[in-house]
């Protein structure tokens, strides 16, 4: 781990027990941030994420919270703030999939994906911004997807949520830009995670880089967007997709 200087305040990563979220948590910890590692159900993986960070000399705390529940979001922030101070970096990574063709996609599958991937991200962002605008500094990174900007059969709910997340990113970015708060999105392509385990095959052949990305590829971009140096980057979407959307 780097000898990066420690920051005042901390970073909160939602859905950080595994995959991209865990990699981002590790990357931000290496950059000197104390990390709130949010998870909903996978306590042992969240504990592993925290252990990896601590073993490398970083500070992290696992906090169980379902970000679709407003009272749990408030409790999440309270717990993280008590441990590490104000949340100055927020990474909205918590996400779910529930695929089906639109013709047979149920209301509950639609609602679940929109609630978690879009509405919860808004709710968590709103809470974080209340602190960030007062601090005159903040970094919000929304983990979107190339699905949304691109179509994908069976993912009308997921695409709608992720496209909405990108649109939300742009508008909130210009609302808070003058306060030193940046809001950006990352659009990963085919990344090796549990969520995409059964997706590759034909899609992989379409990736110009001829490989799936890694969670660390995405984490590197999140760390850049969270950095002091990225202060003039806001409202943007960074595609991390091996050229798939080029």
């Amino acid at each position: 781990m780097s000898a990066a200087s420690e920051h005042e305040g901390c970073a909160l990563v939602t859905g950080a027990s595994r995959g991209i979220g865990a990699a981002i948590a590790g990357g931000l910890a290496a950059d000197g941030w104390s990390i709130g590692v949010n998870f909903r159900s996978d306590e042992s993986s969240a504990a592993s994420t925290v252990e990896r960070i601590q073993a490398s000399g970083g500070r992290a705390l696992a906090v169980r919270a379902d970000v679709t529940a407003p009272e749990e979001v408030e409790r999440l922030f309270g717990t993280v703030e008590d441990a590490f101070g104000k949340v100055l970096v927020l990474v909205n990574n918590a996400g779910v999939r529930s695929d089906d063709l639109a013709v047979s996609l149920g209301d509950s599958e639609w609602d679940q994906v929109i609630d978690t991937n879009l509405t919860a991200a808004f709710r968590v962002t709103r809470r974080a911004l209340q602190t960030m605008i007062r601090e005159r500094f903040g970094r919000v990174v929304n983990v979107a997807s190339i699905i949304g900007p691109r179509a994908n059969v069976g993912q009308s709910n997921y695409a709608a949520a992720k496209a909405g997340l990108i649109a939300m990113t742009k508008t909130i970015a210009i609302e808070v830009a003058r306060r030193g708060v940046t809001v950006n999105a990352i659009a990963p392509g085919l990344i090796e995670t549990d969520l995409t385990a059964e997706l590759d095959g034909k899609l992989l052949a379409a990736v110009p880089a001829r490989r799936a990305g890694t969670p660390e590829d995405v984490a590197a971009c999140a760390c850049f967007l969270a950095s002091e140096e990225a202060g003039y980057v806001t409202g943007s979407t960074l595609f991390v997709d091996g050229g798939l959307s080029a």
């Binding site: 209340q130 605008i133 007062r134 609302e175 808070v176 003058r178 306060r179």
Partner: protein
Amino acid sequence: MSTAVTEEQIEQVVVESLESFGADPEQISRKATLEQLDIDSLDLAELSQIVQERFDVELKGSDVAEVKTVDDAIKLISTSV
């Protein structure tokens, strides 16, 4: 604490807040418009947060949207505490 809040206390908090948002202290008066002071809707949202913390009162967004002058802001808060 609401009964103990005076208009002078409210005015002090409003003026301090406007200065922290970048308004020119010499331009701040009860009659000054928020437009003259370059105070925008995000500033008003932040002022609402500060008022909530200091006076434990939640201002309605629709009422805050009607605020045009420093005096409007002070009166809105005064009638809300």
